[in-house]
């Protein structure tokens, strides 16, 4: 008896899970990932049929051999993913995470090289500076959107370029930061580097822990605070939220400031990381190219369905296949194969929910047909039985 009850409730909860929004988002993400990987495999087959299978195996499994690196490279895209996803909850498409990331990186570098801060807290100050830099660059599209009604997509794209030009100019014009012989920035002093987690052969550092904590904090903000509620309400229906007395303009600017700050933190985490060579750190090369991590953040956010916890996992996944892509170059492929896969994943995740719903409807229809057939035969049997009883009477 007890068993039956628990199994029933288990079935009920199972049904609840499959019907919930989160689950369908999860299956939609899986569908998009599968299609992206299949497309990537086809591209590999076209490019180099001989080693396609070996290369694909590395893309899929390669990351497991370098878990530390997976987490290390997941840190910046987790932050840019959170930046994109957080704004997305409000109905804003923050394509400017690249510019905010670059700006945050520059602020962190500047504090790292130029400020005289007690050694024990220098790296913390540098991280905070990155946060501020990103916030400034995120505020601009917010202000343009809220006060001047300029589409945030165009603004943030333009400010990606403007920010990149500014940062490259500032860095090249500063001989403390820029080594013209290597055309890169100098190594940061040890005291500004984020403490390493000490995993052999990997650069993974405290940044990943901070990034995950930030993700959890965002989840709490979105679920438990008035601001989070207003933000989501505006995302669902802007007019209704305005009608309910929520300050739309203020919320737009605030959302973009926070989103920018998150991306800026990503830039700080990326540049303040210690590198594999002892004593050295990551460096930046100003060559007028927009940071790719910002765009990968879009993929991360979409895969995670703009949910902070989902983004934590999707960033690790994207980082995993990126590591795999680097390893695939050992058998003759180029790491760009992963950018192809990521772009295809974004393409499909734009309508994966719809495809998923279509698939579910198809399965449901099939089931209903079967059910109705069973029901029909049952009703015929009932009628026969009724007839029989009548005749017997």
């Amino acid at each position: 008896m007890q068993d039956k009850k628990s199994s029933k409730s288990f079935i009920a909860s199972y049904k609840n899970i499959t019907k919930s929004k989160g689950f369908s988002a999860f299956t939609a993400a899986l569908l998009a990932i599968a299609l992206g990987l299949i497309f990537g495999f086809i591209v590999m087959l076209v490019a180099q049929p001989g080693s396609a299978i070996r290369g694909f195996e590395r893309v899929l499994m390669g990351g497991f051999r370098r878990v530390g690196d997976v987490f290390y490279f997941a840190t910046p895209i987790m932050m840019t993913g959170l930046a994109v996803g957080f704004a997305f909850k409000m109905g804003l498409f923050n394509i400017g995470a690249s510019g905010q990331y670059t700006m945050g990186m520059f602020f962190a570098l500047y504090v790292g090289f130029m400020w005289d801060v007690p050694a024990s807290i220098h790296w913390i100050v540098a991280i905070l500076a990155g946060f501020v830099g990103g916030m400034i660059w995120g505020a601009i599209p917010g202000v343009f959107k809220a006060l001047l009604n300029v589409n945030e997509v165009i603004t943030s794209i333009m400010f990606n370029y403007i920010g990149m030009f500014f940062v490259d100019m500032w860095i090249q014009g500063n001989s403390t930061m820029y080594a013209s012989t290597t055309t890169r920035t100098h190594y940061l002093p040890k005291q500004v580097q984020i403490p390493s987690l000490g995993i052999q052969g990997s650069n993974v550092n405290l940044g990943i822990i901070f990034a995950i904590l930030v993700g959890i904090a965002l989840y709490i903000v979105l679920q438990k605070t008035t601001f989070g509620y207003e933000l989501k309400a505006t995302g669902f229906n802007k007019t209704a939220a305005d009608y309910a007395g929520m300050k739309g303009k203020r919320n737009i600017i605030l959302t973009m400031v926070i989103a920018g700050g998150l991306a800026g933190l990503g830039g700080a985490f990326a540049i303040l990381a210690p590198s594999a060579i002892t004593g050295s750190s990551m460096t930046y090369e100003p060559i007028n190219i927009i940071a790719a991590n910002g765009f990968n953040g879009i993929a991360v956010a979409l895969l995670g369905n703009a949910h902070p916890i989902g983004i934590i996992f999707s960033s690790v996944f994207i980082s995993h296949i990126q590591r795999g892509g680097t390893l695939a170059s050992l058998v003759g492929f180029k790491p760009e194969i992963i950018d192809v896969v990521i772009a295809v994943i974004i393409y499909f995740s734009a309508f994966a929910m719809i495809m998923n719903a279509g698939l579910a409807r198809f399965v449901k229809n099939l089931r209903e047909k079967r059910h109705s057939k069973v029901a029909e035969s049952k009703s015929i049997a009932d009628e026969d039985a009724a007839k029989n009883t009548k005749e017997a009477k």
Partner: protein, 321 residues
């Protein structure tokens, strides 16, 4: 005066890609589909155009013939690539901005991948000289001769021709009227028997064709016939979107907006040649930022009374009112 001639001569080949791509964006948005993917479509067209040029450059075809045939290749490539957007945005009713973004991200990666694997470089380098030193006969006309018929590309004339054709299609044909109706009020258009899905496919496809040609013309007029996966088309697709908004989704205004942006960009890259600006001693980078900053200033002033198509960005669903 020579500086002025020089500026106009180098401005026009820059203005034409902007003009064509912005016109493409106009067709797409007036049919109701936001086309953020223009940047990717341009690069796709440019890549296939350059691939074609690379393969025929040894033969005895004249450079202008190569250009014209290459243009067709680029147009077809752009058309095919734009089908990805129209399928997602029209048939699957997906978010148009996200789809456009993915289209932008896919192409640089593919170009880099294949160029690195097959050419061992970041792009394709061609060595056909499309440049026209002077158009025989016409270059001797005073003022106009040096302005429009000296040191130029044939792309300029094709671009202006396409502007005229686009304007006629847009305003003087039944097709153009129907296309515009679908961007303003698709339900009304549907109620009088216009196939909204078809018109939106047509709008996006036109933007693909014009975007592909624009990309190829960019690689000819700005990059000397080369294509590079790292720099791509340097944000020209996005600038074209700004040109389109500045031009209020109208062909002739788009033309003037394109000239304005192209002038700024040309100015930015020829500071060293203009003694007055060079003497100011401002860092070159500021000039490079100029087109992007100008975009923002222009948008800040025009967006509050923007005349964007009413139904743009909203997937059309027959069952909705």
């Amino acid at each position: 005066m020579d500086t002025f001639y020089y500026l106009i001569q180098s401005m026009l080949p820059v203005a034409i890609p902007l003009l064509l791509v912005a016109l493409g964006g106009m067709f797409s948005e007036r049919s109701g589909v936001i086309n953020i993917g223009l940047e990717g479509i341009m690069l796709f067209g440019a890549f296939f155009g350059a691939l074609y040029v690379y393969n025929v450059q040894g033969t005895n075809m004249g450079p202008q013939t190569i250009l014209l045939t290459g243009m067709i290749v680029a147009a077809v490539a752009g058309f095919v690539y734009s089908l990805l957007l129209s399928f997602a945005a029209v048939t699957m009713k997906a978010n148009q901005t996200i789809t456009g973004t993915s289209i932008n991200m896919l192409i640089p990666a593919l170009v880099l991948l294949f160029s690195k694997m097959f050419f061992n470089s970041d792009g394709i380098t061609t060595n056909v000289r499309f440049f026209i030193r002077e158009v025989p006969g016409l270059s001797d006309i005073p003022v106009l001769g040096p302005l429009f018929f000296t040191r130029t590309y044939i792309t300029v004339y094709i671009g202006l021709f396409l502007l005229v054709v686009s304007t006629i299609i847009f305003y003087k044909t039944r097709f153009g009227l129907r296309l515009r109706a679908c961007g303003e009020h698709p339900q009304a258009a549907d109620s009088v028997g216009i196939n909204v899905y078809f018109m939106r496919y047509a709008g996006v496809s036109l933007s693909g064709i014009l975007g592909g040609i624009g990309g190829f013309f960019y690689s000819i007029g700005v990059m000397d016939g080369n294509v590079n996966g790292n720099t791509g088309v340097a944000g020209f697709g996005f600038l074209a979107l700004a040109v389109m908004i500045f031009g209020q989704w109208k062909p002739l205004r788009i033309f003037f907006a394109a000239l304005f942006f192209a002038f700024l960009r040309t100015l930015a890259y020829s500071v060293a040649l203009i003694p007055f600006l060079n003497n100011l001693g401002i860092d070159q980078t500021y000039y490079k930022m100029l087109p992007y900053v100008a975009t923002m200033v222009v948008l800040a002033f025009t967006s509050s009374k923007s005349r964007a198509p009413k139904a743009e960005g909203i997937p059309y669903d027959k069952s909705q009112r």
